[in-house]
Symmetry: C2
Amino acid sequence: MRAEILATGDEIRTGALVDSNSAYIADRLEGIGVEVTRHHAVGDHLETLAAVFREMAGRCEVAVVTGGLGPTQDDLSSAAAAAAAGVQLVEDARALAQIEAFFAKRGRPMTASNRKQALFPQGAHCLYNALGTAPGFQMALNGCTLFFLPGVPNEMRAMLGEQVLPQLEQLQGSQRRHRLVRVISTFGQTESAVGETLAGLTDRFPQVTLGLRAKFPEIQVKLYLNTADRPAGEAMLAQAVAYGVERLQPYVFSLNERTMAAKVGAMLLQRGETLALAESCTGGLAANWITNTPGSSDYFLLSAVTYANAGKVKLLGVSEQTLAEKGAVDEETARQMAEGVRRVAGADYGLATTGIAGPDGGTPDKPVGTICIGLATAKETLSRRHTLSFGRRLMNKRLFATLALDLLRKYITGDLKPR
Amino acid sequence: MRAEILATGDEIRTGALVDSNSAYIADRLEGIGVEVTRHHAVGDHLETLAAVFREMAGRCEVAVVTGGLGPTQDDLSSAAAAAAAGVQLVEDARALAQIEAFFAKRGRPMTASNRKQALFPQGAHCLYNALGTAPGFQMALNGCTLFFLPGVPNEMRAMLGEQVLPQLEQLQGSQRRHRLVRVISTFGQTESAVGETLAGLTDRFPQVTLGLRAKFPEIQVKLYLNTADRPAGEAMLAQAVAYGVERLQPYVFSLNERTMAAKVGAMLLQRGETLALAESCTGGLAANWITNTPGSSDYFLLSAVTYANAGKVKLLGVSEQTLAEKGAVDEETARQMAEGVRRVAGADYGLATTGIAGPDGGTPDKPVGTICIGLATAKETLSRRHTLSFGRRLMNKRLFATLALDLLRKYITGDLKPR
């Protein structure tokens, strides 16, 4: 079964808005074994819309259209679908009842333009929208089923998942194929190095497709398998994942798409241990990532974002002499920051970053991209220094924060290499 | 002059990757008055690619294609273009020299598959890629000029700006129109409230198009004007901006697309004042935003991310009695946090957040979405409490941090309402 996807609206056509709906829809359709062959985007223009509807209907069995269901004059999906099919627009009683109920529930007045949203091409079927005012619809055109969904992402996603995908699964019947996906999240190697490490994987597992994706600074390895036999496919994919993980160690940090911060947090939670951070160059980014996980207060106590040196001395007890002699960006300073924040917070681990994120502030000795990390534990204090070659401040901050969290991760797992 | 855009690659077709290139290209083309009429995306499939090239050439004067220029067997743009035009692939001497120079400069070996990247359809012209291995090319097909650019965003953007747009501006000649854009960044009103406030704008300035865009938690108002007469257009747009800003005050915080944190930073820099933060519920996000601006160390001293109560007491001197009697999420606690961090850091302003980001931790008294903000200055200490209705943790963190920075902004501008 082949499908095409159309995003509508002048905001998308002119580039004011990036269309992320189409990728979402493609991913979900491919996930149930429907082959997505084309995406399109056009503006709010009746004749163009009708022409694309007819083109899609001539090429594939399923089309999913987003946008153009609102109450304004620019919302033309229904009228264009009627024009494409050569039928009239008629008021759909089910759609009208939904719109009326939506407004009644919120105590807001319903306008004449909202009533327009219940006009569908003759023969179309209403799709229920639990989250917004715009019902969707589906209709047959030239042997193709077209689904019309709102452009608002959460409304579209709910309707796709609850009303479109189940129909498509049923339509596929015995032909149904599953696309299985597994993700290996890695950090510490370049995309091409990861690719070389896995060069033998698809020879060994010819049914598996490999995709590498930089989610800076992580590299995600995606393994895909299309199969009619789900259990057999899952078993083979598990073997391929195990093969990949073995070769990629110690760079693998998650097999369930956790972020590095969420992974470190889960490890701390499981061990009943606590973390305090002392951040200079990462400017609060590591703490922000850690606290994005609900319940992080169970293991995260404090981050002292000591951007100015005075804070390093006053809050963390870093020695003024060390700062004067070695500077803020130094492994000894990082160690003292880590020890200081561990002591102040009463944490099991103190983890510190100090470096030069750029674009300015570099020296021949300590160029932009220099990062010193300190880790203090009950047993010992360690430090590492890296010099990275990314010129961009925000990339450096991400890389620095990930390097620090990864150091703690490897310390806990025992994968930390001696220097 | 009409243009269409095509993104290629199985990662985009299957939804593994969101295509943001097409929106960027559309925005740049519309910016010089080229009307973008359609976007497409298809996978790495020779016949489909060739078919779409021919379709586009039959409908418009310009087409921009991204992706498919790499060294692997999946990279089919050149072969498909040759097939669409019915010509041979030939080695382009200029392209080959570029690829050789790229590898020589980096001291890396050039493979046979890289040599394939110099094969272009007969009659095509090479486009120089200063940032990667893949040169692009342009060719004429049925009266349409097709531009082929790499899919890597920074390479594509550089080549579009330096080699494609100048040609299109010249091709348009006296027909050339300019699309002028101005952005008003607002915070504190809903999208629909902003829309209602500006309901009269397009009646008063009928040539201006209005677009509202939620960049959560900001609402951006975009004003567009298409004109052949640039100075007259700019003057009219400036009037429309002034009209909009007057009505939207005090919610406007930037007219040059600065973030709230960058705006507050610029105000502090200009005044020679310094800031220290005490963050509980925002977990380092405010500090992270502030330190995303290069040079922020000139005005940002410290953030104490005191997630656990012990840190509030120990580092900031918050009274244990206040915490016991009123709790961590309280205006009095926020005031003591702000005063404490101001004192510890020796800053002009101390700004504090404490609240409940969710999804758990709410009580009937202090539901999820409750945020208390404290601001300490040399003259006084203020606080505010809000209860917001967003259920999602990451949205709440963004909203809380923006509310805090906006409180400081309004304090400085004198726009802070007495309670």
